[in-house]
Amino acid sequence: MSLFNRIMVENRDDEPVKQRSPFSMEIDRDYEARACIMLRLPGSNGSPRTIWSRDFYSQAELHDVLAQIKEAGIELGFWGRLVLLLGPSSVDAEIDRIVATHRERVAHQEEEQSRRAAARQRVQSCVSDKNGWYYLTLERETDDEPEWKIGFRGKAERERLRDWFRWQTSRFLEFLDYAANHGAAALEKRLLDEMFAAEQRVKQEGRGAGGTRPLRMWRGE
């Protein structure tokens, strides 16, 4: 504690004044992706001196690195003292390690995001039977729940639609977009209309299987 502080404490019988750390980390005013460790010597009225600085790839990277330093609980005094003892390169090496970790994490996140985005574009059709209802569903690979489903009271009705539906795999994504834009019921109507149209066309061509599943022998042509 400085003499001034001691006198103040003795006179005021107050709590001791906590000394401020002589080191601070600041972002350069001229270049926002540059971090600096500043040293303000105790008892000095001069402006703080930059003892270390580093340019980052982006401001986001800088903020992320600063957050990691904070999260790791590394004291700024440690960096400052290290620079004063071994020179700026010692902190560079430590920051390199943090930056490498950050970049690895960002790359991993981006990879995961693109993987999820790709998986979201993959849609599959499933069937399920529940409480006497026979469902045909469309599910995205990323989701656990079907995004769209159509239910029938009879299994044969579902299989009739399925005979047509199984040849539409390349259009599944388009169907979901349609349902999102126009509603699930609109998609049901559209699919059934398309199925009837296909059945009629196949019947006219004399290739219909007849019975409750006219498209049973159809191969999507």
Binding site: S2, S21, S44, L86
Partner: protein, 302 residues
């Protein structure tokens, strides 16, 4: 053109510490002026900043107060009032004293009274034949410095030594410490005495009134902390290595630390020392191997 400012270097203060009680001049050059060092570092950005030790606030406060008092008294050299650093083994008491001496630019001496030869010599010049004068005076003569930092270990182990020490640190008696074997009185008044003890009870009653108490805190040393930098600085100093040595990098040293979390500064010092030596060895080996590779596979010359 002559640099005018170079002529006006501030003179290092000095004092004559030895005064002969016989007709002859004091031996060991004790009659010559010895330097009083550290006066240029008394400001807040000097010793209190360089000694670091934010993890030992009581010690840092004591150092800052000592420097402030010297500035106020206009005594341009470092001296700390006799102090005892209280704390169990491994709290970094010796490290604190050594850091202080290094920050002040004065020599550091350890007076280990656990050693019976040293203790006997301090107690009485008659007992011991191995040492001629007290270790403190020997150190003063060897370093030509009047304001050493002396760490006293085991002050409570030897009653006679405690009596002698009381004479050494006494503000009046210490100014005329009698070295009977060399017929000289020595001024120990500018020496900074730093005692070590686990509790106040370990300090002989005779000495207690002379000593300011500084309670040291138990600290644990995590890898990326200020205390580790401070200990590394001490290790480099002890190994006589320059911090600019390419073999010494924090990355290389930290990689070789056996544990992230070390229980005491003493253990951390040993671990750091081993890590630095190991890093140096690895650096030397890699340099040798790259030199060998160059010799075997020289670059083709045009």
């Amino acid at each position: 053109m002559t640099d005018v400012s170079a002529i006006f270097h501030p003179a290092t203060p000095a004092m004559i510490v030895g005064h002969s009680t016989s007709a002859e001049a004091p031996p060991l050059g004790l009659g010559e002026p010895f330097a009083l060092l550290g006066g240029d570092r008394l400001g807040p950005s000097g010793i209190p900043f360089t000694v670091a030790h934010e993890w030992q606030p009581a010690f840092l406060d004591a150092v800052t107060a000592a420097c402030d008092d010297l500035l106020v008294a206009e005594r341009p050299w470092f001296r700390m009032p006799p102090t005892v650093l209280l704390g169990p083994d491994g709290t970094g008491r010796t490290h604190a004293a050594r850091s202080l001496a290094r920050a002040a630019g004065v020599p550091h001496v350890i007076l280990n009274l656990s050693d019976p030869v040293i203790a006997a010599n301090i107690a009485s010049g008659e007992i011991n034949e191995a040492l001629w004068v007290s270790p403190v005076v020997t150190a003063m003569a060897a370093t030509r410095c009047a304001n050493l930092v002396v760490t006293v270990i085991g002050a409570g182990r030897h009653a006679d030594a405690a009596v002698a020490l009381a004479g050494m640190i006494d503000p009046v008696l210490g100014r005329a410490w009698a070295e009977e074997r060399i017929a000289t009185v020595v001024d120990l008044g500018e020496v900074s005495w730093i005692f070590q003890a686990a509790t106040v009870a370990e300090i002989p009653v005779l000495l207690r009134d002379y000593l300011s108490v500084v309670q040291m805190q138990k600290v644990s040393c995590v890898r990326d902390s200020q205390i580790m930098v401070s200990l590394l600085s001490e290790v480099l100093d002890d190994l006589n290595l320059s911090p600019a040595d390419p073999a010494v990098s924090w990355k290389a040293v930290a990689l070789r630390l056996s544990q992230y979390h070390l229980l005491s500064p003493k253990l951390a010092y040993v671990t750091l020392r081993n890590a630095v030596i190991d890093a140096q060895y690895a650096f030397a080996v890699s340099r040798l191997q790259s030199a060998d590779a160059d010799a075997i596979d020289p670059e083709p010359q045009n």
